[in-house]
Amino acid sequence: MSADGQTACRIDIQDFEGPLDLLLFLIRRDELDVTTIHVAEVAGQYLDYIREAEDLNLDIAGEYLVMAATLTRMKSRLLLPVERALMDDTEDPMETLMRHLVLYKAFKEVASELRENESIWRDVYTPPGERDRYEEDVTVTDPGQTSLLELLLALENMAEKNAPAPRHRIHKPLLSLTECVSVLDRLLSLESAKDFSDAVGKDADQAVVVSFFVAILELVKRGWITTEQSYPFADIVMKRKTERWEMNA
């Protein structure tokens, strides 16, 4: 904004929330009543103001200019009684503008009342809530309803426990799918279920857990095993469904 100090004593367009706000300011400055004021009296001042601002190369938002055009039209209508008579059946734009000003003024006042509420309630603080203390204890899903997501979460949980510092990404080579499958092939029987943590070993590192997990997803997809989990983060229980696993199929 290039006011160069010339506008020091002037009103700054940035202080206003739009043309209605500026109009209200002009009305109030002259201690006029919005409900009775003939808008034409203020229109002149508004136009002067916009003209000056334009002369100063101030950046004027389009809405101000639209309002200026409207006010100019109103003023010219006042000067042309003929046109005024012709337009008699339509509504007087001046009245509309006045109603608009009253409405806007009311909202402006309400907004400042809300501002008071805001300043009181900004000083009010709420306890953070105790979800963290309780949620895990109470979220239980029905047994046998293992979704892909719960599987993922279980993995996450196990992987986290085993990871020394979770800051870095894994770059360890993973076991191949075939390797994992052949281990599981030996481990799983048609008769009894097996826990995932047993399959990978108690202290398996993250890469191993990931490899086995992917293998399990693949086996589930092929319908060769089923998985169950009694609640989120619980161990995944695997059961063999088919006798023969042909990886190349």
Partner: protein, 196 residues
């Protein structure tokens, strides 16, 4: 000395993440509405007589325990830098129009304010004070906005009817309904290509 029911309710009002309605209190503690309301009064009395720093607030249709605003200058330090700034005047005005007029389209807000309210609207959405409630079944299908329960909490209101000057504003809006619609339809005609 608080009785068992009051203790239970107090714990709920401390631990909750959002105001708890009387109905929910009854459900969780197994008491009746009247007993719940009286227990809340006993909690308030006991907190006051012990000179405690917390109070029961009636917000967004429910209760929750909050710190005394008088101590805001101390507690606020805990959240320095994390605290939201106060709302701008543009945001407050926009919020006021939405609050009384809801559900309202952006064009309706702009019709009342006489000025573009895009960025104010964005701030309000971001701060969860306003939410999208659907679309208006008119040409262009503009989005409809309403206030959230966070809005009520933010201004310490229990319900929408507790907004300042509800009746007066309602009447005013009724009187200017046509004006607003006319201006709004002019505005949304100009902008319909902005909305997908």
């Amino acid at each position: 000395m608080l009785d068992q029911l009051a203790r239970q309710i107090e714990a709920l009002l401390v631990a909750t993440e959002e105001p708890v309605t009387v109905g929910r209190i009854c459900e969780l503690t197994g008491c009746g509405t009247e007993s719940a309301e009286q227990a809340v009064l006993r909690i308030e009395a006991e907190l006051a007589s012990g000179g405690h720093s917390i109070v029961v607030a009636r917000l967004a249709g429910g209760y929750r325990i909050v710190t005394d605003p008088e101590l805001g200058f101390i507690v606020g330090q805990l959240f320095e830098g994390k605290r939201h700034s106060r709302l701008s005047r543009a945001s407050l005005e926009t919020l006021a129009v939405i609050a009384y007029r809801q559900p309202a389209t952006r064009a309706q807000v702009e019709a009342v304010r006489g000025v573009n309210s895009d960025s104010a609207m964005r701030t309000l959405l971001e701060r969860d004070l306003v939410k999208i409630e659907g679309r208006q079944e008119t040409p262009g299908r503009p989005l409809l906005y309403g206030t959230t329960s966070r809005f009520l909490e933010y201004f310490g209101l229990n319900k929408l009817e507790h907004l300042p000057r509800t009746n007066e504003m309602e009447n005013l809006l009724k009187l200017s309904a046509e004006d607003i619609e006319r201006l709004a339809s002019e505005l949304s005609g100009e902008e319909s290509d902005q909305i997908i």
